[in-house]
């Protein structure tokens, strides 16, 4: 039966029963190449539907048309885990009446599953789907690999619309999201621009400072006592983090260490580690490059996981809680080890937690890699302008001029000192930076609240003020 396939987005929206005041959701696997969010919102606006809550796992610069939908009251409220600088700047300038609610990649599925942020209609962009709505990100012209973040939307939304540019014969082989959740299927010309979806390759840094930090990061892992058979690891896609993965691979191969898994956003570097025997498995909630997409399609050891399995505190168990080591970035970190990844040095929104606080909470060793200063801006401050991840979850900060260990982790501090690492008090790192850069003028946190930062347990951990 082909009853689910509808002719147009408009028809799907009408059939879904979407009304003013309801909530719609989107995943961000197509990243800055996504066409679907704009397509759907334009159609919704044309239908005269207003006052919607937009629940998008991330919002990128390509979604700039949202500004108009906000001004026209089509969108009244935004729930998201990450917002890049384009819309972020406008939000910081006071574009919305209601504050944006920032969650984490684990907090979002938690709140969806608990009914705290119910979804009326989920729109799921799918690089491949069949007429019944079985869908996958692994094949098709817009292939993005894992569809991990779309699972809670599919499972808990009242109505689910799958949007695809690659309608395949039933039954789709290797589906990720099964037909049981899907109400309507719409075929469109293109769901995204492949160039913006995944990078051809993600490259490690050639910046000497980044390489120095990566080397130090790997020494920290070596001396932490965690690098042994069964080791589990996650790292971001930043240049220094990838370089660390590269150095780690060399050591694991040399010392024949057989790890358990690497998780999170997956790059070609982690695929190389899997193929070199460093890990038994990859637990993939999102693919960052073509090599990762190719691997998840062809290698059974490269496994797709849902956002719930990745990080939800409401799940019976989650991957992040089995992590030994996670390497994370920071735009700022304060002397209490609180980390900001939401706002830039002038207080404008330009990011979000993503899986930052989830992995930091779960991993045995949570490491921040950041240069002591960027241009002239010191990274270590007295108080971050926004707490994205609380300092209690951060164990160590690696900079190019020393390593600061959170005093709560005395064992690690001793291990690193014994290992000959340049362990420095974080207050001293701040002073070292300020001796080089000078002391920056304090910015004032005034203005009204434009965003709430909601920790993975549902509590508001900080607010972001208008600029």
């Amino acid at each position: 039966m082909n009853g689910k396939v509808v002719k147009s987005l408009r028809e799907a929206i009408e059939l879904s029963g979407l009304k003013s005041g309801m909530s719609v959701s989107f995943h961000h696997h197509l990243r800055n190449g996504d066409y679907t969010l704009n397509m759907v919102m334009d159609e919704i606006a044309a239908l005269g539907i207003k006052d919607l809550t937009l629940n998008a796992s991330s919002i990128f610069d390509t979604h700039a048309p949202l500004e108009e939908h906000i001004q026209n009251h089509v969108v009244r409220k935004i729930n998201t885990n990450y917002m890049s600088a384009g819309l972020g700047h406008r939000i910081s300038e006071g574009l919305m009446e209601e504050p944006v609610d920032f969650r984490t990649h684990g907090g979002r599925p938690r709140d969806i599953s608990l009914g705290i942020t119910p979804i009326d209609v989920a729109f799921i962009a799918a690089p491949a789907a069949d007429c019944a709505g079985n869908c996958s990100g692994k094949v098709g012209p817009s292939a993005c690999g894992s569809l991990g973040y779309a699972f809670p939307d599919a499972m808990y939304a009242k109505k689910v619309v799958v949007i695809t540019d690659n309608l395949m014969p039933y039954p789709l082989r290797g589906w990720s999201i099964p037909e049981i959740y899907v109400d309507y299927v719409v075929e469109v010309d293109a769901i995204g621009n492949p160039q913006g979806i995944v990078s051809g390759t993600t490259k490690i840094t050639r910046d000497p400072v980044g390489l120095i930090m990566a080397e130090t990061a790997v020494k920290v892992i070596q001396h932490s006592g965690l690098l042994k058979d069964g080791f589990s690891f996650q790292t971001g896609a930043g240049g220094a983090s990838l370089a660390a993965a590269q150095f780690l691979k060399e050591i694991m191969v040399r010392d024949k260490i057989r790890g358990s898994f690497a998780s999170g956003g997956i790059t070609g570097y982690l695929v190389d580690m899997l193929n070199a025997g460093c890990f038994e498995s990859l637990m993939d909630v999102q693919c960052f490059d073509l090599k990762a997409v190719e691997s998840i399609r062809t290698n059974p050891a490269h496994q797709e996981i849902s956002a719930m399995q990745y990080a939800s505190p409401a799940a019976a168990s989650a991957v992040v809680d089995k992590l030994d080591v996670v390497i994370l970035g920071a735009t700022e970190i304060d002397t209490n080890f609180n980390v900001n990844v939401h706002t830039d040095s002038n207080g404008y929104i330009m990011g979000g937690s993503g899986g930052h606080s989830d992995t930091a909470a779960g991993a045995k060793l949570s490491m921040i890699i950041a240069p002591l200063f960027r241009a002239r801006l010191p990274i270590v401050t007295d108080r971050v302008s926004c707490i994205s991840t609380p300092g209690r979850d951060i164990d160590v900060l690696v900079t190019q001029r020393g390593v600061a260990v959170n005093p709560k982790n005395q064992e690690l501090m001793q291990r690193l000192k014994d290992g000959g690492l340049p362990v420095v008090d974080i207050n001293e790192l701040k002073e070292i930076a300020e001796r080089i850069t000078g002391k920056p003028q304090k910015k004032t946190r005034a203005g009204r609240t434009v965003a709430n930062v909601i920790y993975r347990d549902g509590n508001v951990i900080d607010t972001i003020k208008s600029v």
Partner: protein, 90 residues
């Protein structure tokens, strides 16, 4: 000493550098600052620029500073170079 006789520039727009442009002026100093760290270091940069100009006895000039996060010692160097060039010393 300190007489700016020609338009001169020093530095670059690379990250951690600063582009200083100096022009002759009739009376007094006119400093225009544009910095990526304006909020954090704007006042400090102006103070440094004025200090270097005073040391070099420059009393009349129009100065434009386009700063890409240069450290204080870099700003000093670039202003000094621009002054020497503007004086026709280089």
């Amino acid at each position: 000493m300190g007489k700016i006789i020609q338009r001169a520039t020093a530095g670059t727009l690379e990250s951690s550098d600063v582009l200083v442009t100096l022009e002759p002026a009739q009376e007094g100093l006119e400093i225009e600052l544009n910095s990526v760290v304006q909020n954090q270091f704007g006042a400090a940069i102006l103070e440094t620029v004025q200090e270097v100009l005073k040391e070099l006895d420059v009393q009349d000039a129009r100065i434009s500073i386009v700063d890409r996060g240069a450290l204080d010692c870099v700003i000093r160097a670039r202003v000094e170079t621009a002054v020497l060039r503007g004086e026709g010393e280089c």
